[in-house]
């Protein structure tokens, strides 16, 4: 296995730096506009999977006129194959807390929350200790900001930003209509910045080292580094910080087990890339001039030739059918139709042409579902069915 120079490692997130107090004090005395410009020029995009420009998000919230605003750290990491946020919160929590507080300074929010998924209950104690220490320091430097943990209770859909707000408001985690958007009307109807844990950790890097250090990593449209959660048929499962823009072929060279049949990029909501497309696929937010590129939360699951793609798809569809909030027709019924549909084709109850009808259905789900869950089912469904059609039928 050759280590291709294209696969560039980075080391910002987990670098153990005990300077959060200094970073906090320094940055809350900088004018908010300066910090916003820093983020915008870094071209940092959300690391939870949606890839929205972070600087713009903070800017819109800062410009909203309201006495009450909120900063929420989305730690409802539930995408299959993703486990990086857990690691960040246990290894370098102060970076995240500092970032939340700086966001508060930029937007005018006085309260920050960490929405922590129920499955990560065991992180609570240590995290609360860190928060106590953090708030103590804030008081010392006269910075009015509190951070609290809000626990989830087992609902993947609560990772969707508006569903998260509903959950924090004591209701069912059903996504809202957009517009309005969170930066103008979020938690309790107030302007809210909601960012993924990793995104906030990157803002810490940017505020510490300046936007250029971040911008210099990666490629056009996909600046900076990202954490990748690697699992499946790999001799090196774990979390790796890599520059964006690498080709999937290089990635598989490094992390595959020499028998990699396909890679699921971005979890169940992402795309399955078959071996024949590794070379033309780049990991980032927008394609280079050639080939495709994929937005991603960084989940990379490798499958070797012993794995049945039918089982993989079946597993994903069961997941979506269960975790869907159930309010909108295309997702609630669509997921059930897809789940039963592939079973029926496999058992011979429906013929192979029915697969095409299902593909059309996923298109409709993509266009009409109310939130990202329903909209993304098409990604894995179409990429698996199109590339491994025979495995669906025989």
């Amino acid at each position: 296995m050759t280590t291709n120079y294209q696969l560039k490692r980075a080391d910002f997130i987990f670098k153990s730096e005990n300077d959060w107090e200094e970073i906090l004090s320094k940055n809350i005395s900088r004018p908010p506009q300066e910090l916003i410009n820093e983020l915008i020029s870094s071209e940092l995009k959300g690391r939870g999977g949606a890839g929205f420009p972070t600087g713009l998000k903070w800017k819109v919230c800062a410009e909203a006129v309201n006495d009450i605003k909120y900063v929420i750290c989305n730690a409802d990491e539930g995408e299959p194959g993703t486990f990086k946020d857990r690691e960040i919160l246990s290894k370098v929590p102060f970076k995240v807390l500092t970032a939340i507080a700086i966001c508060g300074h930029v937007t005018g929010a006085k309260e920050g929350y960490i929405y922590l998924r129920g499955e990560y209950f065991f992180l609570q104690q240590e995290l609360n200790k860190a928060i106590s220490e953090f708030e103590y320091y804030c008081k010392e430097i006269n910075f009015d900001f509190t951070i609290r943990i809000f626990m989830g209770s087992g609902a993947y859909i609560c990772g969707e930003e508006t569903a998260l707000f509903e959950s924090m408001e004591g209701k069912r985690g059903e996504p809202r209509n957009k517009p309005p958007f969170p930066s103008t009307s979020g938690y309790m109807g107030k302007p809210t910045v909601i960012n993924n844990v990793e995104t906030l950790a990157h803002t810490y890097t940017i505020f510490k080292y300046g936007s250029k250090r971040f911008y210099d990593l990666g490629v056009q449209y996909s600046r900076g580094s990202k954490l990748f959660s690697v699992s499946g048929d790999t001799p090196k499962p774990g979390i790796y910080e890599l520059e964006l823009g690498m080709s999937l072929a290089d990635f598989v060279d490094e992390f595959g087990d020499d028998d990699t049949k396909a890679v699921q990029v971005g979890g169940a909501s992402g795309f399955l890339v078959p071996r024949k497309k590794f070379n033309e696929t780049n990991i980032g937010f927008q394609g280079k001039l050639t080939g495709i590129s994929l937005p991603t939360g960084g989940s990379m699951m490798l499958f070797n030739s012993s794995r049945s793609m039918y089982n993989v798809l079946d597993n994903y569809l069961k997941f979506f059918a269960e975790e869907s909030c159930g309010q909108c027709t295309p997702c609630r019924v669509g997921c059930q139709q897809l789940m039963r549909g592939i079973k029926a084709i496999k058992r011979g109850e429906k013929n192979a042409q029915y697969l095409d009808k299902l593909l059309k259905l996923t298109e409709t789900m993509q266009y009409t579902a109310k939130c990202g869950l329903g909209q993304s089912v098409a990604n894995s469904f179409s990429s698996i069915v199109e590339n491994f059609r025979e495995e669906m039928i025989y």
């Binding site: 990491e77 299959p80 486990f83 499955e119 989830g152 209770s153 087992g154 408001e169 209701k171 499962p237």
Partner: protein, 164 residues
């Protein structure tokens, strides 16, 4: 010593508040002690927060970890998402079923264990993984899971012995 439910709910409401947005932590607090939300608990929460009972029910049943059916003292949640499934979740599940003599969704007659499946726990690089209550166990094998369950069973035997 476990508090009676009405007192528990009142204390939770004192701690968190009595507004709608305080509902989830209160539900979680009751589940923490009782392992599930009974009809009675939900009605008491509705009363304490001045909410309709149906709203409390509708909200609670949305969340997978807010059980509304009676549960055992130790709730096993084994991950069934793709990586854990690939890495041997099935064998581990069989080992548990064999050892405890219950199937998925069932509770042991002595009320010690309930066996459930859940979705991705975020330990895919150390699959297969499971939760018992709030504790995570990963890199499971049938042997390892038997060891883990034995510890719980021994703990229970000690408790029973101490009571006698």
């Amino acid at each position: 010593m476990m508090k009676p439910i009405t007192e528990l709910i009142k204390d939770l409401a004192d701690q968190y508040g009595r507004n709608r947005h305080n509902l989830l932590p209160i539900l979680q607090g009751v589940v923490e002690q009782e392992k599930y939300l009974s009809e009675y608990s939900m009605i008491e929460i509705a009363r304490e927060l001045d909410l309709p009972a149906a709203e409390v029910f509708g909200t609670a049943t949305f969340y997978s970890f807010l059980e509304y059916k009676k549960m055992g003292r130790n709730i096993i949640r084994i991950c069934k998402t793709i990586t854990c499934s690939m890495k041997g979740e099935n064998q581990v599940l069989l080992a548990i079923q064999e050892m405890l003599k219950i199937g998925v969704g069932e509770t042991t007659p002595d009320g010690n264990f309930t066996l459930l499946q859940t979705n991705c726990l975020g330990f895919c690089h150390k699959a297969p993984a499971m939760l018992i209550n709030n504790d995570v166990y990963n890199e499971l094998t049938p042997e390892k899971v038997r060891e883990i369950l034995s510890i719980y069973l021994n703990k229970k035997r000690e408790e029973v012995a101490n009571d006698n």
